[in-house]
């Protein structure tokens, strides 16, 4: 049966099992929107700005593990999507973005709403395609989904000219795909795994440093088993939170610039680092010369280019994290390798001393709401079982520090690119994927205004997200850096003329609650989270000049942090 390109696309998405398509119509994609109208398998979610479409698809992908799918028009539709594509790229999130393009004969003509989408997105996608022939469409889509969701995942853009969506071709869902130029490694090298286990057996002060790869490859269960078998402390990166449960006694908190004292000190003093699905990002390592100076390093990662990029490692293992961790565990069990228990005991004694400092303690007296207290309360009220999306800045770090994630895929944040405006649209994707779940968007008055228009989308699709806005009237993280490093010259970090967020929420048909006093925080949150069918905007006025501690200043080693 002959189908138009637009119909091939909608049939393909349905056959691929795509539930939601996040998008915004325009001239170049009108045929596709018409085909969407004539089917009921793929649900289209109409956002209010294309950036939000990509973040919503991203939130969907992070919380489910399935690729998020986006449809935007040519020109500004595509350029507006770029921020979200780059966000997904930096955090290795599987995503397929379909961009409309002007008709083939007009490409290169400076036609209305024409941009070189393939060229613009090239540096921030895992791969991209321009489909010039309708006969190639189904196979190209298959390749796009395959590339996006295998190996180290990432966004893939498929640019489809308007005439290709009108032309007809036979459609068969391509079940299998093989690409001679793309064969991601799955299994780790047996010899390297043996070497790694040997190092584990010799270690006196071993340490796990685990990142987003654990979450992406669903390796959490295997990691917990391996960590328990080894008995070493575990630290998570921001991207890895929930990959190892925060309530586990072996967990020492997040590491890096705003990591805990115990995590950063353990990193600085360990003699073996087992890095799993983490990429030694500059916010994690601080001064690279001073990073884990005494440690031999085992690095497990699916991407060979992540290995020895920033830090030279002793035992690189390229492979799927879940596979490799399981293989390491098997190797330990089969060979009966024993860890050095007396040395570990000493190591834990030391770690407990660092822990005793209680670096995340904060003052609760006074009449100002401490942001840390607000997040502690959020944890309490949601029983630690919410999906928490966040924007970028101080609130993001506090959420990472104080919301103690026990499960993977619960902490949804833009770790690599640091995209303000991510939180609310990401929460939409999460809520659509998990309609019954509690979804909180932790944000600030700065970030939320970067995609505030999505309150309208939330109303249209009845998304009962709870927005927890820590409103301190400052672009807090900018202000904090200006306080520390620019002699308190608060250049453009103060926000004047803020809207009345309660009225704003109400004008979109939602519920708004403002909280001024510490004693009202818990009750307001209880009320908000009880409203299961409403979006509630909690505008929490927090201490304007609170800082995120601990903090490792730029250029310092992890053991040189400012504690308070």
């Amino acid at each position: 049966m002959k189908l138009t390109g637009a119909e091939i696309l909608t049939h393909y998405l349905a056959d691929e099992g795509v539930e939601f398509l996040f998008g915004y119509p325009g001239g170049a994609v009108l045929h596709i929107y018409d085909a969407l109208y004539r089917q009921d398998k793929v649900k289209h979610v109409l956002v209010r700005h294309e950036q939000a479409a990509t973040h919503a698809a991203d939130g969907y992908a992070r919380s489910t593990g399935k690729p998020g799918v986006v449809l935007v028009t040519s020109g500004p539709g595509a350029t507006n999507a770029v921020t979200g594509i780059a966000t997904a790229y930096m955090d290795s999130i599987p995503m397929v973005v379909i961009t409309g393009q002007v008709p083939t004969h007009l490409i290169g003509n400076d036609a209305f709403q024409e941009v070189d989408s393939v060229g613009i997105t090239r540096p921030c996608v895992k791969h991209n395609f321009l489909v010039k022939d309708v006969n190639d469409l189904a196979l190209t889509l298959k390749k796009a989904f395959y590339v996006a969701s295998t190996g180290r995942p990432g966004p893939v853009v498929v640019d489809i000219p308007k005439d290709v969506t009108a032309a007809t071709a036979d459609y068969v869902y391509p079940k299998q795909i093989e690409m001679r130029s793309y064969n991601p490694v799955v299994k780790g090298h047996g010899g390297q795994i043996k070497k790694a286990v040997k190092l584990i057996a010799q270690a006196k002060r071993p340490m796990f440093y685990t990142g987003g790869g654990v979450v992406l490859d669903n390796a959490s269960k295997a990691l917990i088993q391996l960590a328990h078998a080894v008995g070493a402390p575990v630290t998570n990166t921001s991207m890895g939170l929930g990959g190892f449960p925060a309530s586990d006694n072996q967990y020492v908190g997040m590491l890096g610039m705003h990591g805990t004292y115990e995590a950063n000190m353990a990193i600085s003093n360990c003699d073996l680092m087992i890095a799993i699905g983490a990429r030694f990002d500059d916010r994690v390592t601080g001064n690279i010369e001073k990073f884990a100076p005494h440690a031999k390093i085992i690095h497990v990662d699916i991407d060979p280019s992540s290995i020895s990029k920033n830090v030279k490692v002793d035992v690189p293992i390229v492979g799927g994290v879940n596979n490799v961790v399981k293989a390491m565990l098997k190797q330990i069990k089969e060979t009966g390798v024993k860890v050095n228990k007396p040395a570990l005991k000493e190591w834990w004694k030391q770690i407990d001393q660092w822990r005793a400092l209680e670096c995340l303690k904060y003052k609760t007296d006074g009449d100002k709401i401490k942001p840390q207290f607000a997040l502690d309360t959020l944890y309490k009220v949601t029983k630690g079982d919410a999906f928490v999306t966040s924007d970028v800045g101080q609130h993001q770090m506090w959420a990472a520090q104080y919301y103690r994630f026990d499960k993977p895929r619960r902490w949804i944040n833009s770790g690599g690119l640091g995209t303000m405006g991510f939180g609310l649209p990401a929460a939409m994707g999460v809520q659509l994927a998990h309609p019954k779940a509690t979804v909180a968007c932790v944000t600030g008055e700065g970030s939320i205004q970067m995609n505030i228009q999505e309150l309208s989308t939330c109303m249209q699709y009845h998304l009962p997200i709870k927005i927890v806005c820590l409103n301190n009237g400052f672009l807090g993280m900018v202000r904090q850096w200006q306080e520390f490093f620019y002699d308190r010259r608060y250049s453009s970090s103060y926000m004047e003329s803020l809207p009345d967020f309660v009225k704003l929420a109400e004008s979109y048909g939602h519920v708004g609650i403002q909280v001024h006093k510490p004693e009202d925080v818990e009750a307001a949150m209880q009320d908000a989270f009880k409203m299961k069918d409403r979006l509630v905007f909690l505008d929490i006025l927090t201490d304007p000049e609170e800082n995120v501690y601990p903090m490792v200043p730029t250029g310092a080693g992890l053991d040189e942090m400012i504690l308070i």
Binding site: R122, K126, S305, K309
Partner: protein
């Protein structure tokens, strides 16, 4: 250190710009780059000359391998190999004296004269880059009108080969 990286890649639109884009985005050097389809016209063969420390070249090869269009690559400088570059050079030669001199030099360097006018010669010369450089130096008496060099192409010595 100078490295010659030989890349077998899908002969797709945009494949070249993916490589060029990677080098500019990550701040790597490209000294020269040549590309053309192979005997299998679905594949292109690219030869890329770059400079960098061992760490950087390791990253370069890993990043290149990560490009979806790249099928295989080899760092030719890791083993015995042959490299060649072709140059076409147009020189002014209007007097008998200069014409004789240019012809003599071309012969010494095993170049071929491929175009002649009453006032100019165009010479084709193939070899390693330093040979081409030496020819240019030797020509100093004959004014050079135009030089075009192909960039380096390379292949490994022996029976092993870079193929799918």
């Amino acid at each position: 250190m100078r490295h010659i990286i030989s890349i077998l890649m899908e002969n797709e639109a945009g494949a070249l710009s993916r490589v060029a884009g990677l080098f500019s985005a990550r701040g790597y050097n490209i000294e020269s780059l040549t590309v053309a389809p192979t005997e299998d016209n679905t594949l292109s063969r690219m030869t890329l000359v770059t400079r960098g420390s061992d760490d950087i070249v390791e990253q370069i090869t890993k990043q290149l391998n990560k490009l979806i269009d790249v099928v295989k690559l080899v760092d030719l400088t890791e083993g015995p190999h042959i490299e060649r570059e072709m140059m076409m050079i147009k020189v002014k030669a209007s007097t008998i004296e200069s014409r004789t001199e240019v012809m003599r030099l071309a012969e010494i360097f095993r170049g071929r004269i491929i175009d002649v006018t009453p006032s100019s010669f165009t010479i084709e010369l193939t070899g390693k880059g330093d040979k081409l450089d030496a020819f240019i130096d030797a020509l100093d008496k004959a004014p050079i009108l135009e030089t075009v060099r192909s960039g380096v192409s390379g292949i490994s010595r022996g029976a092993k080969s870079l193929h799918v």
